[in-house]
Symmetry: D2
Subunit: 312 residues, 4 copies
């Protein structure tokens, strides 16, 4: 069966599922999203875009933004970043502060919140938050080839008002000297980055450089081949909080989820995939999105742990 | 450059390195091994075997045996195994008991010691240890196509005499009901399994089913395609203790290391690789072996996180 | 009101209470004890013995034995003991192994299980378990002035058969070199010590040296004044597992509880008190026993945290 | 020997000691204090005041203020406080955030920083910080009978500027709903409370209510007898961070230390003692102060764990 038919099946299956998980409630603005939605988009290495469901509806990308922010930060300071952030799975819940205490303010990886806050601190780079936020937005628009991508200021404000836990993390790392700018500026940058809104279509397009060995499909390099490979590795080992091992086991594709219900998944040399459904499972990852990716991987044979095969 | 030339370079580079890490001392018998040794063997999907250095010298496979033991246990009880062992990276040192306390006697994954002891308990299956040990040995010989593989009884006895930490782990899990047989029988099985001796050549041959989607190169299936893929996924996320993330980042290939200094690494559809050098780095993985795999991955382009490419 | 009247009231109140907690179930033999029992005995500094309820019924002293074992071990090796055991409250459940991992096999204090196992290792002193057990029994008989005190072999065997967690603790500490004898001999000693049976009367008498600044009421010193004071301090800060702070807050008297439902409490210069009721509260301490001591402390004014006052 | 002679000896011994510990450096203003100073003052139950050394020199009371703040908060909301703060020793370093994560934002006791921040939140009570700070200052002046006690604004500002760890703790507890006021107001109150300056003389006088069963020596009750007893109990079990057990073992008197180098110690019915020397030991408690109290307790026989005796 060809890819469009598989996608159509996945959309149909998603529509029929009754257990859709729970919409994230800790960011008030996100709690209002209708859980009945599901979208999917697949950008292939040969330039096709196959979509289904609510693939054009914007959603809050939240932690998926950490992939783009990491890419930017590596562009700024290169491997020096790894002196301030680790590369190991955390083995704990995504907002855990315990690890930070045991490891002297060095977060385990750039995809847990603490690590992403350090990355935001790097991206701030002595500028005002609006400068760093503007740079991030331009970068994502460039990756997706779509200037319509924007930040939802209501969501950003919603996080700013309730982000006590992130404030705790940031202050804690500042106590260890691992945050260099004032905490409110760093978190302002971070919350705006998380509040970027994209559709599945835009997100799948923005992820293409990671399937293309670091190259932009329109030409030129976004990152080196080695860096693209390493970002994919981090997505696989750390992209789904403390369910990363399970996602690797079931799906077998590097992916990064966000509490807005989106997941970006990369099949190197084959596809950049975005799925979205707002209900989350008990690990904080999109319930229908995870199931959709499992079905997609199963039917296409797309897994980094199997011999190369399947449609492309 | 072709693969034999790359292997020859790697052997030459290994010979010239001065910092060779530290030979494991906690198993007295292992501490006696000459750290000057280095071997490598690559079995390719198209049936070649390319070797170098001390590729025919036997060494204690130790934790690499966990891959074969897991394969056997899944054959016995299937996915029921996952009710007794998790699939997440541990985020802690390989012999950590903290996780067990927090998670009610369920080890995080089958590749940390506690998880491997549960797997040994499954493989014991009501029989005497010598039955289970015999089955394991026959299985490894069948995978490698080599009846010369044997257990080093001195090493097995050496572990039995000093394995207080493993005794602690096993008793602790028994207190939670997650070990079903008497602890000394389970550990007797486990210590003998770890004391299997293989050369790089034998190990690379034994790993071929994991590159071949679960099929034995001589014909027939060892495991299903789905199971092969999942074992590879576990090797990538959990195969190097709390340096698994770093190994994925640097090398990008599923691998399982042992304190004897060996590493088995699998490039799905391409190669089954064994390296060995007794000196360990600060994470307990072979120092030269890790560097050799990093060089091999870099020069061949073999990484599950890059588009398929390179020699095969 | 005088002390006999207070004791009579306490016995009456205990009889009328409906919530009696839960009898410990993890030692099968203890689970058979009738929860309807309650006993109390107070030995005063001026030589009186005031009793009530089931004060002559024997019960398993369990962890209360740790006080007598500690006294013996300090007699053997003095302050060298503190190189192998700490003196700080544990802040964790009584059988926690986490602390041991973080603190390199040195238990936090001699009253958590791990610490008591180290103390048993000291008391073993190169002899056979029956020698150490015999010495312990003679010591307790001497303290209480009662040769009728004995070990319940059924209880000892019951613990031996199910003590997987203690086996884990002991093996774990042996891995760090903090247990010197074979683990089964150490635990054999420990389980027999815990299986000593005493009545409240016997226990209150046995504790008199701790109220009398280290002196035996029949003459002579059991321990120095300084050592008696320090054992009392340890009972106050560590005697009730992770409810020690609450016991100090509510009752204000050094005490040591056991899962058999007994508590030994010491008012320096005033009284040695034993209470017993088999039902335990959520912290593993006798429910009625704790309430009885709280009432006794309140009505007598006996608290080490108030100006000296009250009967005696 | 009488008490004045003992105090004179202690002052002489302190003067001759060479290892004076290390002055706290994390609050810049405190790091400037001359480590050569030592003061002591003892207020007895019979109304004497015996002093020595730098007993009239003011120092930053820091965490000792937690005793007075707790007394105030209990006066405001009584035992409801214990729904928001525990009463158990922490078993961890004084600024640990791990415990908070494991226990859902409820600090272990009111004397670790997190607990003291909750107490400050209670004392704020809907008012502006200057109101709560004014109330605290009036309370301490009333206890000591000395209107000269003041806050060192430079120290308060010094903490405000660097207190990232306390900001982390406060935000973290706010995420759990256990801080009710804006974090900056709560910490403003807390930092000013810690910056109160007192001499040993003033501090010993301020502590008299705790030796006098809750009564002010000039007449009237500060707290009930029961509450005085309980505050003393908390000082004994939790007053010296994770060296509380050791302090109870060596000294045997309820005490509360501060990183300014002061310690307030209470012998119920006998004495209120203040010592001060700026150098800290490895647990963050005054090095000479701890030794002085150990000597004082030894020579007077003052210990809550010995039969009542010694001078008064």
């Amino acid at each position: 069966m060809d890819l469009p038919a598989i996608i159509a099946d996945i959309v149909a299956h998603a529509a029929s599922r009754e257990d859709r998980g729970t919409v994230a409630s800790y960011i008030p603005e996100l709690a209002k999203v209708d859980p009945g939605q599901f979208g999917i988009a697949v950008a292939t290495a040969d330039g096709r875009l196959i979509e289904g469901g609510d693939c054009a509806t914007g959603f809050s990308i939240q932690s998926i933004s950490k992939v783009f922010a990491l890419t930017l930060a590596l562009g700024k300071i290169g491997d020096q970043l790894w002196q301030r952030v680790g590369r190991e799975p955390s083995g704990n819940a995504f907002n855990s502060i315990v690890q930070l205490e045991q490891e002297q303010g060095i977060p385990r990886n750039p995809f847990i919140n603490a690590g992403a806050v350090v990355v935001a601190d790097v991206n701030l780079g002595g500028h005002q938050p609006r400068v760093a936020i503007g740079e991030m937005l331009r970068f994502v628009r460039y990756l997706a080839g779509d200037d319509g991508i924007a930040i939802n200021e209501t969501v950003a404000a919603s996080e700013t008002a309730t982000g006590f836990r992130n404030m705790a993390l940031a202050n804690y790392m500042r106590a260890f000297g691992n945050i260099h700018h004032p905490v409110d500026l760093v978190l302002g940058t971070y919350f705006h980055q998380c509040a970027i809104e994209m559709s599945c279509r835009q997100l799948a397009l923005a992820g293409r450089y990671l399937m293309l060995d670091g190259r932009h499909p329109e030409g030129g390099r976004v990152v080196s081949s080695s860096r693209a490979k390493r970002i994919n590795a981090l997505m696989l080992t750390c992209g789904h909080y403390d369910a990363s091992g399970d996602f690797a086991f079931r799906v077998g594709i590097p992916g990064k989820s966000g509490v807005g219900g989106g997941i970006l998944a990369i099949v190197p040399g084959r596809a950049s995939i975005a799925v979205w459904s707002p209900g989350l499972n008990e690990n904080g990852n999109s319930q229908l999105g995870t199931l959709a990716l499992e079905e997609l991987a199963h039917r296409t044979g797309w897994s980094v742990f199997s011999p190369p095969q399947g449609p492309s």
